[in-house]
């Protein structure tokens, strides 16, 4: 049996519910659990969650207040993610796979490979990119080195000693070091995954181009009948989340079939957002993560800043001989 898990704030619940709907369709006999990384008392009155829930009250998070104080909302969620995954891993011994998915994921095909191709793996990782970049657009490979080559929007754990060892290791590191600080080698819960192929046995890199499509890799994923889209992450497309908000490679209008899927997805999210409530879920401000998020500089501003920085560097380093 597979247990699926997503971790989200109340604001992201409509997306998690859409994900749950897609999981019920493609994995009707498996279970889906939502980890609510938010203040559960902020849920609108009368709201009924159709899936089992793990709340912050179920977890033992040392220094919760301190973590909330030091992180942005996204960093805070990343810091708490390993607690949710470990909690579920321990409380569901009957499930042989535990699959974490971002709330912004939507499934289009069942993950049948888990029981065939990947049956011997301990930990599955999906790289952001599968092929070298050939253009000058943003993000480039250097940027990915800073934020992590493997996306933490998907992690599949096969119940095994190695998976348990990974969770222990990750859970010890991430909560205190989930800052987005590339100069110090840190980037949320995600960059840590880069060490796992060396540290753990059975770490398997998923190279199926239908897995984990997103804003960052549409340019290299040709979706056909032979390689259908298995799951899509609408992060940064249907919300203002993620690390690719400043990307200038992919224009969704160039991908009409994906645009159609995005619109259908947004309809489902809107449906769950209202769901007969007086106030939409998306209006609830996250309770944790008090550091303000500084949105990345985008578009022409980003290009202008890059050119100006080059000019500054030139002024700093150009060799001007001294007049005799």
């Amino acid at each position: 049996m597979i247990t699926f898990l997503s971790v989200c704030t109340i604001r992201q619940l409509p997306q998690a519910l859409a994900l749950g709907e897609s999981l019920q369709r493609h994995h009707p006999t498996d279970s889906f659990v939502i980890g609510l990384c938010d203040d559960i008392s902020q849920l609108p009155t009368g709201f009924q969650l159709p899936f089992p829930l793990i709340s912050m009250n179920d977890l033992v998070i040392p220094d919760l207040e301190q973590l909330s104080q030091q992180y942005t909302p996204a960093e805070f969620e990343a810091a708490c993610k390993p607690f949710f995954i470990s909690h579920l891993y321990q409380s569901q011994p009957q499930s042989d796979w535990l699959v974490y998915l971002d709330p912004s994921v939507y499934l289009y095909q069942p993950l049948t490979d888990l029981y065939t191709r990947y049956s011997d793996a301990a930990l599955l990782l999906t790289p952001h990119l599968l092929k070298p970049l050939t253009d000058q657009a943003f993000p480039d490979e250097k940027y990915l080195q800073n934020i992590g080559l493997y996306s933490s929007g998907f992690i599949a754990l096969k119940r095994s000693d190695e998976a348990a060892r990974f969770l222990g290791w990750w859970g010890q590191r991430v909560p205190e070091r989930a800052f987005a600080r590339p100069c110090e080698g840190m980037y949320t819960d995600q960059i840590w995954l880069a060490l796992t192929p060396g540290l753990f046995d059975g770490v398997t890199i998923v190279k199926n181009p239908g897995w984990h499509l997103g804003l960052w890799n549409l340019h290299e994923r040709l979706i056909t009948e032979e390689t259908p889209a298995v799951f899509f992450n609408y992060k940064g497309l249907a919300d203002q989340e993620g690390y690719f908000q400043a990307q200038d490679r992919v224009r969704i209008s160039s991908y009409p079939s994906i645009k159609k899927r995005l619109q259908a997805y947004q309809d489902r999210v809107r449906h769950f957002d209202k769901a007969g409530l007086a106030n939409p879920l998306s209006a609830v401000v996250p309770a944790y993560g008090r550091q303000p998020f500084k949105p990345p500089v985008k578009g022409w501003r980003r290009k202008a800043v890059a050119t100006l920085r080059q000019t500054v560097q030139f002024i700093e380093t150009v060799d001007v001989p001294r007049k005799m």
Partner: protein, 327 residues
């Protein structure tokens, strides 16, 4: 035929010879070449200092923009940036070399590398992770340092000559022409950080976790050494294949490496003899003479004049940058 090579300048020829001697002893059927980032006709080495191994000078391997690279890079960056260019050269010009293996010059090989040879029959690339067991402290180097500088150590890489590994080499070359800098905030650490992409972009990349491979200061926390009947063993379970004396200098014999602060020789008596052995071999190979030769490609340090003019030119641009960044 297997071709092993290293890259260094004349000042490191004692190391390159020590590596070559160890290979000749342990893997006598391999060819060994020293890639020399220096100019022999300028250095005028006396015959007594010419190594017993073929040397291939950097200006002989047809690097398209070598002048530009010399201009952009300091000596560490330059010496690492040319690695895939040498591999590419061997792939093209040494058709008998079916496997090409790079070793940093400060390595000693202790065993016939039969396991490596076997893997290179089956895989395109063989790389070694810095760490195979977690590091549970935050001394240097720690896990964050490895995340910043690359998870695999590029003091070693083995390649089987295949189309796939050639694709890897071409990609790596392209990146290193302009971006072999040390710039951690921008995701760059010489040639090494790039190789994180190798197992993702390319098929059949073997991640070698055998504890006898590329043993060095960064994995001492997981490896203990002992000698039994003249054979060095790791964790009493495996034979030491090759040791990487990175950051060790015979003029600082009390330091395991200038790049680490986790262990002293007092704490690690098990490695003392390994380093004594290395120190002696370097001295025997005339380290004290070689080290005085300056590298032909080292640029004289630039003195930047007119600092106050530079400052006043920069200041309005920086104001504009912060206005753009903060709206």
């Amino acid at each position: 035929m297997t071709l092993a090579f290293t890259i260094c300048s004349i000042n490191y020829l004692a190391q390159a010879r020590t590596l070559g001697d160890s290979l000749r002893q342990t893997n006598p059927d391999w060819q060994y070449v020293i890639g020399l980032v220096d100019k022999l006709d300028q250095a005028n080495l006396p015959a007594s200092l010419l190594p017993d191994y073929p040397m291939l000078e950097i200006d002989q391997i047809e690097i398209e923009d070598f002048a530009g690279m010399c201009d952009r890079y300091d000596i560490t960056e330059l010496n690492t940036a040319v690695k895939p260019f040498y591999i590419d050269y061997f792939f093209k010009h040494n058709p008998e070399a079916t496997e090409v293996i790079y070793f940093d010059p400060d390595i000693i090989v202790f065993q016939p590398l039969t396991r490596l040879k076997q893997h290179l029959g089956e895989y395109n690339l063989v790389v070694t992770p810095h760490i195979c067991q977690p590091i549970n402290d935050w001394l240097i180097p720690n896990e964050l340092n490895h995340l910043n500088t690359g998870t695999f150590n590029l003091g070693f890489i083995g390649l089987q000559k295949t189309e796939e590994s050639n694709r890897f080499v071409q990609w790596w070359k392209k990146r290193l022409v302009n971006e072999c800098r040390i710039d951690l905030c921008n995701g760059l650490f010489v040639d090494q950080h790039w190789v994180n992409f190798a197992p993702i972009y390319y098929d059949k990349v073997w991640i070698e976790k055998h504890p006898g491979y590329n043993a060095a200061y960064w994995n001492l926390h997981e490896r203990h050494f002992s000698e039994q009947n003249g054979v060095w063993r790791v964790n009493e379970t495996a034979d030491l294949q090759f040791f990487h004396y990175s950051g060790y200098g015979i003029h600082k014999p009390k330091e395991i490496s200038k790049y680490q602060n986790r262990f002293t020789f007092e704490q690690r008596p098990d490695v003392v003899a390994l380093f004594d052995l290395y120190r002696q071999r370097l001295l025997d190979n005339q380290n004290e003479t070689y080290r005085n030769y300056p590298c032909f490609y080292i640029k004289p340090p630039k003195t930047l004049y007119y600092q106050s003019i530079r400052k006043s030119l920069k200041s309005p641009i920086n104001t504009l940058i912060s206005a753009l960044e903060n709206r």
